[in-house]
Assembly symmetry: C2
């Protein structure tokens, strides 16, 4: 594909729809975002996509890539289901978009397009073995191995959030216990903060949180001011991230781990402890992967979807 | 590569060296095995390899693949270290074998060549997404995703045995605790059998084991005769295998899991329970992978090494 050609990336999120026109170097030439039309039928969301595509596309645009927050049949271009929206089972989104835009369309799941974005244009750039892990309410991942996405059967690979990592009884969003997500993601962190707020009401952390919903920002502020309650919570979080990242490395041997999502803001406060755990646990031959905070923020998906469009189908 | 050409596979094991001449369909045309020259220098083992290669190769042989029980630099064809043998750090095995045989040589680690063997010619045949897991004293794995080995940086991917899966305190061969290998491999199984022999001396299992070293065979016999002590140990083993295989599926999304190693002989007695755990824990969209016992036995490595030789370097 010629260097001056552009592609359109679509990132369908549960709350926001992003559509961008991106050049071969990953530069975003035009970006549109709107609140996803949640109450609309697939027809409503598809009309919204078409409208934004027509706004961003350039004369040289020759392909579309689309990240979907759900299950897809990539080869057929069919959506199998999107947990956040009703009515998507069996929608042939690829051929619909192709018919209405005249451009070839590729679908991929949302964690995978974000991984492609960070790999091709963000914090993973320059390496062929990159694990992208997003840690917010839940945990998602996309794995690049030897310059290719690890997709697996049905494109379902990379669900590291739901690997069993602990015998702890805390329940995961998936209904099981012991998942990496159940002990290390935002919900676990919030639960630990709430329990500290109740149990240690005179702590700096409790004072900062007050009656608000706990968030990573209070934990970061309290910890950087030396609050021992906050530091202990970060220590626990770093323990689980250290175990989870060691698992990632033993499994996929990434050269770089790119960490996205809200919890990644706390990485500077946890890096030393995470690194120590990895050094302690990694087998001989491994050196701890470089852990980088994701560079593209909310644009990783839309940029990655545009790069996806450049791949051979 | 033409169909009538053959390749030579080498499988260097800690106790045995196997060398075979294999055709494009995976048929073994000649096989030699000898006790690995453990006390010899690398020079001794290399001489042994050359001798066996010359015995098995045919006029149409045009490449060599070699599985190594240690760390390698695949691109340079250099061995970085073999735990079972001294003196291998930095040995340029690829170019040495190439100079002495006149054939191009590719190196790969032993679990990966066994995975290739089972995938191309054994129980994984016909699928492009195959996880090969060998469960004996330890746990090794090789992963085929979309028809390619998942190698990762330094070729180190697939160390599922040393992923943290439990908070149990039992120590692993790697020195850590909580590894899949520490709770599910042969050593854990033997420890549970010994503890039952001591704690339940009147059980059928204890009677069968007597003063012998515990092995999978006694467990299998006792369980199939209904011994509740043996059944409980198998139930525990199936629990950990069910968790580990669920992890495998969430991570790599194989269509098929091929199980090798001594513990695989017990699969028929555990299959129902493993499958139930997988069904309970797998995310929506996943169906439990078909679990097959490895078909090539001790020849998986040597056949896989011969197939490796057919790959582009």
């Amino acid at each position: 594909m010629s260097e001056h050609r552009t592609t359109v990336g679509i990132d369908l999120g549960g709350t926001q729809l992003r559509v961008a026109c991106v050049d071969a170097a990953g530069a975003v030439l035009a970006l549109e975002r709107e609140r996803s039309d949640q109450h609309g039928s697939p027809q409503g969301l598809i009309d919204q996509m078409i409208r934004l595509i027509e706004r961003v596309r350039s004369p040289g645009t020759n392909a579309i890539g689309c990240g979907i927050p759900g299950l897809i049949d990539r080869r057929k271009g069919v959506v199998l289901g999107i947990p956040a929206f009703a009515g998507w089972s069996g929608v042939p989104l690829g051929s619909i978009l192709q018919a209405r835009t005249g451009l070839p369309v590729q679908l991929e799941n949302d964690a995978n397009v974000a991984a492609i974005g960070e790999w091709r244009s963000g914090a993973g750039r320059g390496s062929v073995d990159v694990a992208y892990v997003t840690i917010s309410t839940g945990i998602g991942a996309g794995i690049i191995s030897d310059g290719r996405l690890v997709r697996g059967h049905g494109g379902l690979a990379g669900e590291i959030g739901h690997t069993h990592i602990s015998d702890e009884a805390s329940t995961c969003s998936c209904g099981n216990t012991g998942c990496f997500e159940a002990v290390a993601a935002g919900r676990a962190l919030d639960r630990r903060v709430m329990s500290a707020v109740v149990g240690q009401p005179s702590s700096l952390l409790a004072g900062l949180v007050g009656d608000r919903t706990p968030g990573a920002e209070y934990l970061g502020i309290a910890a950087s001011r030396g609050c021992p309650v906050a530091l202990e919570i970060l220590d626990t979080e770093a323990y689980w991230l250290g175990l989870g990242f060691t698992n990632l490395q033993h499994l996929y041997a990434p050269e770089r781990i790119v960490m996205g999502g809200g919890v990644s803001a706390l990485l500077p406060l946890m890096r030393e402890r995470i690194d120590a755990i990895m050094r302690q646990r990694l087998l001989p031959g491994f050196t701890p992967a470089v852990i980088e905070v994701a560079a593209l923020g909310d644009s990783a998906g839309v940029v990655g979807a545009a790069f996806l469009a450049r791949e051979k189908p």
